[in-house]
């Protein structure tokens, strides 16, 4: 019996690892499927799809070894547009299905595409457990702060008091922070980007693709039909530099058109300061450290308008992955007890012979 399955093997048990052909050089076009894209014109999802297709050749995986798994919602359609393997599953369950796939097939690069409702509401349990297990899956969560596919109900990230079809008098449900959830669930890679920040998003997806372990990327995305301008107050071209802070490991958290604003810690409270005023210098600005959980916690909780919105990699640490620990346990059990002998197993315990 084999415990190694690959697509190139016929699965009938020779267990031989597939010999990988020499990799052809792939381009974005190789990842575009023949399916017509059917999101609303002007949707932020187009940009996310384009950046995703663009970075795919960078990872060195043959496209047949890449799998996109999604749940339900507008985001859930993305796998149809990727010329890779794809599985459009059921509402909220994509992380669970991806966990099983990655456990069975460590050779595959697995992506999960989800939305704020799919990941944080109906699938909240699966999200936190796949993150805490460090399942080696890249979860890209489109956050438009609304239910789009069901035509405009409040989502778990909708702001308190938001008037939607399901909340004509305003919501009474306090929104949750996706990044804080990911952090609490001990994800080993946590990042945020924006649909319209194309280069930033490419860099973020690239970093996500190169991480090994539970990877959570929140992409702030506009729904121009049901929640138009969801993030425009800080993402519009004219204001974005003053209202977002781009995180870079080992660099001070400086932002603003004039690169003169920064985040400083006053005790354990963050505050926005201006370099050159009141004797503040660059040395006073907090330096980002992707491995520091307290910094990540602070960054997950600051937001516009009190603070610039942090974008980039909040947290990146290394921990053994779920599938690797499973594989190691199998190897260890086989090393100590020998490869399983079914005849012996069936005949174990107290047996007797009837003549």
């Amino acid at each position: 019996m084999t415990d190694t399955i690959t697509g190139a093997d016929n699965g009938a048990g020779n267990g031989a690892a597939a010999t990988l052909p020499e990799l052809p050089v792939l381009t974005r076009k190789d990842f575009v499927s023949d399916q017509e894209v059917r999101w609303c014109p002007g949707c932020g999802d187009y940009s996310i799809l384009a950046q995703t297709q663009k970075v795919m050749p960078d990872f060195g995986y043959p496209k047949e070894n890449i799998v996109f798994i999604s749940g339900i919602g507008c985001s859930g359609r993305l796998p149809y547009y990727m010329n890779t393997y794809g599985f459009h599953t059921i509402h909220g369950r994509a992380p669970a299905i991806a966990t099983g796939l990655k456990a069975a097939r460590p050779d595959l690069m697995v992506w999960v595409i989800t939305g704020d409702g799919d990941a944080l509401s109906i699938g909240g349990n699966h999200l936190i457990h796949s993150l805490r297990r460090n399942v080696d899956v890249r979860i890209i969560m489109f956050n438009n702060r609304i239910y789009g596919l069901t035509k405009g109900q409040a989502s778990p990230t909708s702001e308190l008091g938001k008037i939607t079809k399901s909340s004509p008098y305003g919501t009474v449900d306090f929104p949750i922070s996706p990044l804080a959830i990911a952090l609490a669930a001990e994800a080993t890679f946590i990042a945020r980007s924006v649909d319209t920040f194309t280069e930033h998003m490419q860099a973020t997806l690239n970093a996500a693709g190169n991480h090994h372990g539970s990877t959570f990327v929140e992409v702030l995305q506009n729904c121009n039909i049901f929640n138009d301008g969801a993030h425009r107050e800080f993402t519009d071209r004219e204001v974005r530099e003053d209202r977002t802070v781009v995180l870079e490991h080992g660099k001070p958290m400086i932002f603003g058109k004039d690169r003169n604003k920064g985040i400083r810690l006053a005790g354990h409270q963050p505050e926005v300061v201006t370099i050159g005023e009141n004797g503040i210098t660059e040395a006073d600005i907090l330096v980002h450290d992707e491995t520091d959980p307290l910094i990540a916690f602070m960054l997950a909780h600051i937001y516009w308008p009190e603070f610039p919105v942090p974008v980039g990699v909040l947290r990146r640490v290394s921990r053994p992955t779920h599938h690797q620990m499973l594989v190691d346990q199998l190897a260890q059990a086989t090393a100590t007890r020998g490869a399983g002998d079914l005849t012996k197993l069936l005949n174990s315990g107290e047996t007797w012979k009837v003549e």
């Binding site: 190139a8 459009h88 079914l342 069936l346």
Partner: protein
């Protein structure tokens, strides 16, 4: 050892019996399951045919001495072929007043009643509402009462070992076991070595248990209380190697065997739930067989991960009980839609809702058949005995892999925990169930079906050139793209149904025990096999025109079911539900089947089925001698 019981003046006589049924009952912390299991192993190794029925509360340790805390283990051992753990015990071992009160009603008059009289304290009697001590007030006159000071004798036997009172008290079940070993002339060597092995790191506890065991045995030997010992000779089982096996054990072993026969690894996603958890415990130990186990965050993730593993080419397996199956329902529908192999084990328990978690029932048949949205056909199998759980695990996978379909494998609490001797199969006798994955690019479409099986190709991620997308949305026939075309949906719905219906040609016909036609057919499914088989056999011996047929395939049904049913004047369907199979049979074959339905959380007794069959025969004007 010393006892205060009168020493034997006369030798004990020996009597041979064909079959004996013993029920051990005590507090759930008294070790009754262990005592029963040890006696069972002994009887099995001796060569008796055996059948067991553990009956325990959901509470791990209900208040000591209370009725809800009573744990029982019934075993029947015999020199002839038996199919059930016995309707009623011949011997009841009651370790306290609660155990006596909870079980006495099922001990027939004249039955042997062995009690630990030390536990009949005013406090314990009061807890269960005894106004006076039944051991002394004459209320037990119709039974053959043996009142033994088990605790006193046992603590005396363990004197000097330095054990605490609590530790000493915990060994008293071995005293009871030792006494039963004496009564039925059993060799204790295997139990002694089991104790040595179990407590090898705590030799003083091992010694305590061994002394308790021997003290019980010697008590029987030396006191005047017991005048007769009983011998149940070995049964004439089919030659071969045997072991004792429960349904859950056989299920787990069968899954590993299926993995080897399919040459694919098992991925087992599971969430703890009674009475299915033992399957997880067991499979988690088989890592050197390539079995990957995953204790999921919930039932939904357990089945979801299994589907993900199957998508990747492994054998995705999950198990639960009724409430958990309800949660898995949506994902099972996904597996129907994407047509991936998947096996879902349902170890049924009494419902609805949380119901009675440790008690048996057959209430989930309609749930697994129809409990999904849309037209959502899948295969449903139900092994009938613990030993059959092994073969049906392999059969479930044969069908799932060959037809690219989810298969539900129905067990229940009685089947899962009950044990019987199992003739260990020779692996060379088992056929391969391996299926290839699609690798050829030429003419590949995700929903292009095999002409015979109607299965779609299983093209695994990692296969160059076969990149495709599947999902829960309706797919265009052959091409597999998302489709809302009305005629396509109708066609695909019919195709999914036809694929499952077609499996009827690939399963054995329904077998009949008894005449091929006659007055009465008793039709059953699942764990009621033993009781039905025995009841029908008794009536055949009494000259009735009666036969028994047992369905192992609930969907699709074997092709000959209609013909079988029509060959009898009456059809009786006993079920541990309110008539779920009967509803299906009546709807499908337009036969006015009669139900016998009980939901007491317990298996059927042979006698009640026999009586019901007699009643039905009487409606035909047939009287049975």
């Amino acid at each position: 050892m010393s006892t205060e019981a009168p020493l034997k003046a006369t030798p004990t006589t020996q009597k041979q019996l064909e079959r004996v049924t013993i029920r051990f009952a005590g507090d759930s912390g008294d070790g009754m399951q262990l005592t029963g299991t040890q006696f069972t192993k002994n009887a099995a190794a001796f060569g008796n045919d055996i059948s067991t029925f553990p009956d325990y509360p959901a509470e791990i340790r209900a208040p000591a001495g209370s009725l809800p805390g009573v744990s029982g283990f019934q075993l029947s051992f015999s020199s002839t072929d038996i199919h059930t753990p016995g309707d009623a015990p011949d011997v009841l071992v009651a370790m306290n007043p609660a155990a006596l009160k909870a079980n006495l009603g099922e001990l027939p008059a004249g039955g042997a009643l062995i009690v630990n009289e030390d536990a009949f304290t005013p406090g314990n009697l009061q807890k269960v509402g005894y106004a006076s001590n039944p051991l002394g007030d004459g209320s037990l006159k119709q039974w053959n009462l043996f009142s033994v000071p088990v605790s006193t004798l046992n603590s005396r036997a363990l004197e000097g070992l330095g054990l605490t009172n609590k530790q000493v008290d915990l060994t008293k079940n071995f005293f009871a076991l030792g006494l039963m070993f004496w009564l039925y002339e059993r060799d204790m060597a295997a139990t002694v070595s089991w104790i040595d092995d179990k407590f090898k790191k705590r030799p003083e506890i091992a010694e305590g248990n061994k002394r308790a065991l021997k003290a019980g045995y010697n008590f029987g030997e030396t006191t005047e209380i017991f005048h007769e010992r009983y011998v149940v000779p070995p049964a004439k089982l089919r030659p071969g190697h045997y072991r004792n096996i429960t349904g859950n054990e056989a299920t787990a072993l069968g899954m590993v065997a299926a993995s080897q026969l399919a040459e694919r690894p098992i991925f087992y996603g599971s969430y703890p739930i009674t009475p299915a958890s033992d399957i997880l415990h067991q499979l988690a130990g088989y890592k050197n067989f390539g079995v990957k186990t995953f204790q999921a965050e919930d039932e939904i993730a357990a089945v979801g991960a299994a589907i993900g593993a199957s998508y990747g080419g492994a054998m995705g397996l999950t198990a639960s009980s009724g409430p958990g199956i309800a949660l898995k329902t949506e994902a099972m529908g996904l597996a129907v839609m994407v047509e991936l192999p998947l096996v879902v084990i349902d170890v049924q328990r009494a419902g609805p809702s949380t119901g009675m978690p440790t008690k048996t029932e057959q209430g989930d048949l309609l749930q697994v058949l129809f409990g999904r949205n849309g037209e959502s056909p899948l295969v449903v199998l139900a092994p009938a005995t613990p030993a059959e759980c092994f073969t049906f695990a392999i059969e479930a996978w044969r069908i799932a892999l060959k037809y690219m379909t989810p298969v539900v494998y129905m067990s229940d609490a009685f089947l899962a925990n009950g044990a019987e001797p199992w003739r260990i199969p020779n692996l060379a006798d088992l056929s391969s169930i391996a299926v290839p994955n699609r690798t050829a690019r030429e003419g590949f479409y995700p929903y292009l079906r095999d002409e015979t099986t109607l299965a779609r190709p299983w093209a695994l991620p990692g296969t160059p050139g076969l990149e495709h997308r599947i999902g829960g949305l309706e797919k265009a026939d052959v091409m597999g793209n998302v489709s809302y075309d009305p005629d396509n949906h109708h066609r695909m719905t019919l195709l999914r149904q036809a694929k499952i219906d077609g499996i009827a040609a690939d399963i054995p016909p329904l077998e009949v025990h008894g005449p091929a036609e006659g007055d009465l057919l008793v039709l059953g499914w699942g764990s009621t096999y033993g009781a039905i088989r025995s009841a029908v056999k008794r009536l055949q011996d009494r000259g009735a025109s009666i036969a028994h047929a047992h369905l192992r395939y609930l969907n699709p049904l074997p092709e000959n079911v209609g013909d079988v049913l029509k060959a009898y004047k009456r059809v009786l369907i006993p079920e541990l539900n309110l008539g779920q199979l009967r509803m299906l049979i009546r709807a499908r074959y337009l036969i006015d089947a009669i139900g016998y339905n009980r939901v007491r959380g317990k298996p059927f007794r042979i006698a009640e089925l026999e009586a019901e069959a007699v009643r039905v025969l009487a409606t035909l004007g047939v009287t049975i001698a």
